[in-house]
Symmetry: C2
Subunit: 351 residues, 2 copies
């Protein structure tokens, strides 16, 4: 018999996030039931809650940066037990048999991965509900183990902001000797600085806002380039092996492309709106540069990232909020007024 | 004393290409004087003659697909002698000391390579004049050797159309097992089919025009996909390891991006106008696909390409014209009415 579950949801594109009760499914044989302790707030939550991508289904319970404690497991689950500290990220299922799934890249599943919220369960066809709630039931394969020693609330954003920046840095082999640049210092950007530094790269932050140097250096940057300063941008021409662009809003990529070395990559991880002004092929042709993108990471890589964070003591810089303050938090995020990720303390749901 | 030279030039963006006499410099110590036999007509010639890129200097003598015979050499030139069959492509000089030049990638010279026409000579600061003329004087390093056995007039387009497609196919390792697609069947496209086939790739042509199948297969395509046919495009989803886009005009790249495999590359070699409709990052992020570009090739690689063509009997499919028909040829090119490259027989200059 499905379990009554308290949460917060958007009822339409224009309504605030508000209390909402719903039912979580009974655990299937391979399911893990998780009591949610913390849930990070991702910019995607705002886009989706407000139907800015045009694919939203309501009611919607956002949240895909989930940390919790195992409450129960299905009969076939042998490797998790009640009490274990676990995480759930952006994905809760995939087809398991396509080429992408077979290569541990479930985020690129040919049949479409099942997202943690606003997705459709492959078995019962219900809409998935995310982490702004007291409990979630997830197939064992998509449950991550939280390493000991990490602050659970500060680890929550690793499940999306963390893997979204870890994965491209690994894929494009950022390491010792790499001149890495990160565009934007928000939830994603501050994690990219931390990982870049931990991987041994020489890390530069591009920012439009003067005065961020001390913060950026504390987070792992070796250098800061003010992208609004023509001389600093000119001096950076042809300097970087890899650029990770974490900015979620429309912006001109050409000034940054000019700072790439020959045969280097510009990786978009934050923006989902069209590239305007439109890309000039000459900016790519001259130097054989590429514009590419990266989407979170597969389950195995997400576990690898968590384990790496456990070994290196890496978590997100967060501000904890009560669930009742969620709409205020959205407004502050839209003004970039958060250092660097909001995390909901789900105990407040019972307040 | 500089040599009086007959040629054809544009006097302004709106004037036809017409007879023009000018002086070629006396050979410097490292120069090769070349009597031009044939010159291919590249789409760039039209763009530049008509100032479509906004950087044209007049008078302009276009032409950078040059085949000729050595007439004389400067005193330091030991490896060419009068009578040798040679070629000159898009470049006639570069700085020789930047990182790109040191890696035999003179096309990406940090100080800007000197283009064969509409460029500025590094020594005397004069504007360079190209191959629509009876003679050219070029620094030895930028003179290519024409392998024996190749028809000189059909080899002329190898100097631009050839290397522009050869270089990206080599760089992105097209070979046995590669599913390669070529967008567009013109001067560049037909060379991409020939090289793709010669490298052992499984070659597909994307075309908007029905009925090109026999021609495409004769030139090296294994398959043809009609890009205006929704079903054919859907069937091609996720099929290709590498796509070379040779189309010079504005066109939507998204339908082609959807036919790339995960972690694959879309290489623009033909278009220099902005990518409109603007690129949707989602088309790159989903599958970690990249949009990139490639520009001709360096001198060493151009020689390697010519030698490869000599070994495999590869030349361009051409239509030979008299220089007096140059304006008519431009009009036909704008209607894609050429199979597949016009080459000027420079003997007609003396008619």
């Amino acid at each position: 018999m499905p379990t009554a579950t308290r949460g917060y949801a958007a009822q339409s594109a224009s309504s605030p996030i508000a209390p909402f009760s719903f039912e979580r499914r009974d655990p299937r044989a391979d399911d893990v039931v998780i009591d949610i302790l913390y849930c990070g707030i991702c910019h995607t939550d705002i886009h989706q809650a407000r139907n800015e991508w045009g694919r939203s289904k309501y009611p919607m319970v956002p949240g895909h940066e989930i940390i919790g404690r195992v409450a129960a497991v299905g009969k076939d689950v042998k490797d998790f037990k009640p009490g274990d500290m676990v995480g759930v990220g952006c994905l809760v299922d995939s087809c398991h048999h396509c080429d992408a799934c077979e290569h541990d890249l479930e985020q690129f599943c040919a049949e479409g991965p099942v997202f943690t919220y606003n997705g459709t369960d492959r078995q019962d066809k219900t809409t998935t509900y995310g982490g702004y709630s007291e409990r979630i039931v997830v197939s064992r394969k998509f449950v991550l183990r939280l390493p000991k020693g990490l602050d659970p609330k500060a680890a929550a954003p690793l499940l999306c902001a963390g893997i979204t920046t870890y994965s491209p840095l690994r894929h494009w082999k950022a390491g010792k000797g790499t001149k890495l640049a990160v565009v934007g210092l928000g939830g994603l950007g501050h994690m990219a600085l931390k990982f870049g530094k931990a991987f041994g790269a020489d890390v530069t932050l591009f920012t439009r806002t003067p005065g961020k140097e001390p913060e950026a250096k504390r987070l792992g940057a070796d250098h800061v380039v003010l992208s609004t300063d023509a001389k600093q941008m000119k001096d950076a021409a042809g300097r970087f092996d890899l650029i990770i662009d974490t900015v979620p809003n429309e912006h001109d990529v050409h000034p940054y492309l000019s700072t790439l070395k020959r045969d280097s990559h510009y990786v978009i991880v934050g923006q989902l709106t069209p590239l305007i002004p439109p890309v000039q092929p000459g900016a790519l042709i001259t130097g054989r540069k590429s514009i590419t993108g990266s989407l979170i990471g597969g389950v195995a890589e997400t576990q690898e990232m968590l384990d790496f964070c456990g070994q290196h003591g890496i978590v997100s810089d967060i501000e904890t909020i009560a669930i009742q303050d969620i709409n205020k938090a959205y407004e502050r995020m839209l003004k970039s007024d958060v250092r660097y990720r909001f995390v909901i303390d789900m105990a407040t749901l019972k307040a």
